[in-house]
């Protein structure tokens, strides 16, 4: 039995869009009306009590019940079979080390990026290949959008008042991809983080945007040098902030394959990038030089991107044939969280 307040609205798509705009329930784009039968289908998909509390979502700490999450997932255009991913993603974003309160309220453009691992990618059609971070895949598009609705309608992150992002970024509409485990020469992200290969998981990363890195050829030394030097942006939180966090590297299959064929492990890749991703201290403004020295982030007159190579996150995704890796600077004061996806009773 669903307990949420019932609201009567016009069936007209135009009128519904106007109401969403007026009530601030959506993102400026059309929604799927969350009718009782649709919401029940989502709750039924996971076989859980609609009143079960999954989390309390900062900064308002609205109570995210299965029912409320289902309503938001319907609105975003999800299929019922996507719903287990959303439940796991909500469990992940409320991990204290993820710092959702900061992420929701900051002037930084940060948004939770969802990385899906495991068999569920094939089962529900998650895209981990060409244009994985772009348009065209319903699962990627609507799962990320559903999480945004949760942050808005349950977390209370209304743009401009609570969500104080100076400019935001397109990833605040939706930000979701799968890892291409089949093209990954190393263990995939969820295995690196302690899960079995057969366990489907979602990992949330507080990503401040995407940075495309074009590196031609198959020489890993050249590829990793270009990636490293493209990550050294003085203005990103990972560099100038107090907390370095975990910058994310989404290696395209071409770059990952080149490194793998050359015998490099994922640890080797992280260490090589980390050793080369440094900014000369003397180019920093004087007060920041003092801060970086005080933080112990300076080695041989250069500022480290992160204190340790293992702070870097590496996943593999993208289409074949291209030479475009993407890196994501993060909010800095956030640690990625991974949760298992429970498939429910159906």
């Amino acid at each position: 039995m669903l307990s949420s307040r019932r609201v009567t609205v016009s069936e007209s798509a135009d009128d519904l869009l106007e109401r969403m705009d007026e009530w601030g329930w959506a993102d400026g784009l059309p929604i799927v009306p969350p009718t009782e039968d649709r919401v029940e289908a989502f709750v039924g998909q996971v076989g859980r009590d609609p009143e079960e509390v999954i989390a309390e979502v900062a900064p308002r700490f609205g109570v995210a019940t299965v029912e409320k999450l289902a309503i938001n997932a319907v609105m975003a255009g999800c299929r019922p079979e996507y719903f287990p991913v959303i439940l796991a993603a909500v469990e992940a974003i409320v991990e204290p080390s993820f710092n959702l309160n900061g992420i929701q309220c900051t002037t930084n453009p940060v948004a939770p990026l969802l990385i899906i691992n495991g068999p569920i990618r094939g089962e529900i059609g998650i895209n981990s290949k060409a244009n994985a971070l772009g348009q065209g895949c319903r699962a990627n598009a609507t799962i990320g959008r559903a999480l945004r609705f949760v942050l808005l309608n349950i977390g209370g992150a209304t743009p401009g008042t609570v969500d104080k992002a100076t400019l935001g970024q397109p990833g605040k509409f939706t930000f979701c991809l799968g890892e291409d485990e089949e093209e990954n020469p190393w263990e995939p992200l969820h295995v690196e983080r302690g899960f079995s290969r057969q366990q489907s998981t979602v990992t949330v990363v507080g990503a401040a945007g995407t940075n495309n890195i074009c590196a031609f050829g198959r020489d890993p030394d050249i590829i990793l040098t270009i990636i490293a030097h493209s990550m050294t942006s003085m203005g990103c939180n990972n560099v100038f902030g107090d907390e370095a966090g975990e910058p994310l590297i989404i290696l395209c299959p071409h770059h990952a394959g080149a490194c793998g064929e050359a015998g490099l492990s994922k640890v080797d890749v992280k260490r090589t990038i980390w050793q080369r991703a440094r900014i000369p201290l003397d180019v920093f403004p004087r007060h920041l030089q003092q801060e970086k020295l005080a933080q112990g982030r300076v080695v041989d007159g250069k500022v480290l991107l992160t204190p340790k190579p293992e702070d870097l996150m590496v996943v593999v995704a993208g289409g074949p044939g291209g030479c475009h890796t993407v890196t994501c600077p993060t909010f800095g004061d956030t640690i990625a969280a991974t949760k298992p996806i429970r498939m429910g009773s159906r």
Binding site: R6, V7, T8, T35, G62, N99, N101, D333
Partner: protein, 95 residues
């Protein structure tokens, strides 16, 4: 409900009803040690000089200790340090 209408469910969720208790507010701050928890934003620096002046001239506060936030939300360690050294704190939030 007419044929052209549809009933939808409200997606908005609110916090549990809880009773929050504020720390006891001092009625007289004369001679007290005040902490200023600087969040690093320019607006804190702009405002706090005026606040400091007012607190001394109008309310006669005692010592002032300036702290810098080590991260966006002060952790338990910093809060314990503040509560041990100060009798009240002006906390910089946002910008």
């Amino acid at each position: 409900m007419s044929k052209s209408e549809v009933i939808i469910l409200d997606p908005v969720a609110w916090p549990k009803a809880t009773t929050l208790r504020l720390a006891t507010r001092p009625t007289d701050i004369k001679g007290m040690t005040v902490g200023y928890l600087d969040n690093g934003w320019w607006s804190f620096g702009l405002l706090i000089d005026r606040v400091k002046k007012q607190l001394v001239e109008r309310y006669g506060v005692g010592d002032a200790i300036h702290y810098t936030k080590v991260k966006s939300s002060p952790g338990t360690k910093q809060i314990e340090k503040l509560s041990g050294e100060c009798q009240f704190v002006i906390n910089g939030l946002g910008n």
